[in-house]
């Protein structure tokens, strides 16, 4: 601030010092400024983007009754919607099997198709799975994801993940 009157600015060509040394100094200052500025902007941007990705809430796996066994037709299947997700449940006598009812293609919810021999059907792109969850037609790339299930006191019990209520809101 001392050179308010101007004229003795060392960056101006008319000041003392070789022009080559001067331009090198100016160049280095510009590079330093550019790098430091970039680093500062990147650090700030990183913090801001971190804010935009919410931390994953903690989870607990719990067993919940999904549906009464008698509500699932013997030899058939049904889809149950619980707070922890959609479940495709298929019954043969007293044994049940469960899958995540989310199609592995693009995430639509599958349905039971009583008339066809191909058990599970996805209405979005005509994906088809058999009783074992294997892909038998359409675009799904992977079989259905199996979920642990059992029968207790006439209820179908599935294992699902729960999250704190506050995080669901």
């Amino acid at each position: 601030m001392s050179d308010l009157a101007g004229g003795r600015d060392p960056d101006r060509p008319h000041s003392v010092g070789g022009a080559a040394g001067l331009s090198r100094r100016v160049f280095l200052a510009n590079v330093f400024l550019g790098l430091a500025g970039l680093l500062g902007a990147a650090a700030l941007a990183q913090r801001f983007f971190a804010f935009l990705s919410p931390p994953a809430p903690p989870e607990r796996v719990v067993e919940v009754p999904a549906i009464a066994l008698e509500s699932v037709p013997d030899g058939g299947g049904t889809v149950v919607h619980l707070a922890g997700g959609h479940f495709a449940i298929e019954r043969r006598g007293q044994t049940v099997r469960a899958f995540s009812a989310v199609c592995t293609h693009l995430g639509c919810v599958i349905q039971w198709q009583p008339t066809s021999d191909q058990a599970w059907y996805c209405p979005c792109h005509h994906g088809r799975y058999d009783r074992d969850g294997r892909v038998v037609g359409g675009p799904p790339p992977r079989p259905l994801i199996p979920v642990e299930a059992s029968v207790r006191d006439g209820q179908v019990i599935v294992k699902l993940k729960v999250r704190p209520a506050a995080e669901v809101a």
Binding site: A36, G40, P55, P164
Partner: protein
């Protein structure tokens, strides 16, 4: 100050900002760990059968009518010492042992303390529950009440 010197100053300030943001990162890590712990604790409590039963007892006997759902504190009670309304129940575990709390519920609070000693008597008081809640229900209710905690970070209301 020459332009080159000014550039250096700006560059150094930018680096200082980076340092401050790195420090803020460790502050954030600590806060995240706390938030995580709280969320885990809430999840564990919600999964405990006794506390779930106690919550049912709480609504069965209409405790929530005065103390609000979740014990977050209550309806108007003119000139009550607890801020002119029925007290919340989020700090019980700090000042009561389970047996004391059960006794308090059995006896009720026949006279509520006044906020302003010269003011009127608060219209609401807590009736005794001696004949209503006992045994397993009382144990479940106390377990539920002792599990209540204020949400983290919130300013403390009057401790009760």
């Amino acid at each position: 100050m020459s332009v080159t010197a000014q550039k250096l100053v700006v560059a150094l300030l930018s680096l200082a900002l980076v340092a401050a943001l790195v420090a803020a990162g460790s502050v954030d890590a600590r806060r995240q760990a706390e938030a995580r712990k709280h969320a885990e604790a809430m999840l564990d409590d919600a999964a405990q059968p006794q506390i779930a039963r106690g919550r049912a007892v709480y609504t069965k006997y209409s405790c929530n009518a005065c103390h609000a759902a979740g014990g977050t504190g209550g309806i108007m009670n003119l000139n009550a010492e607890s801020g002119g309304k029925v007290n919340g129940l989020l700090h019980l575990s700090e000042s009561y042992r389970p047996a004391e709390l059960a006794e308090k519920i059995r006896n009720g609070v026949p006279t509520v303390g006044k906020g302003d000693p010269t003011g009127p008597d608060p219209p609401l008081h807590m009736p005794p529950y001696r004949d209503l809640i006992a045994g397993q229900e009382m144990r479940d209710l106390v377990a539920y009440l002792m599990s209540l905690r204020p949400p983290p970070g919130e300013a403390k209301s009057s401790a009760w």
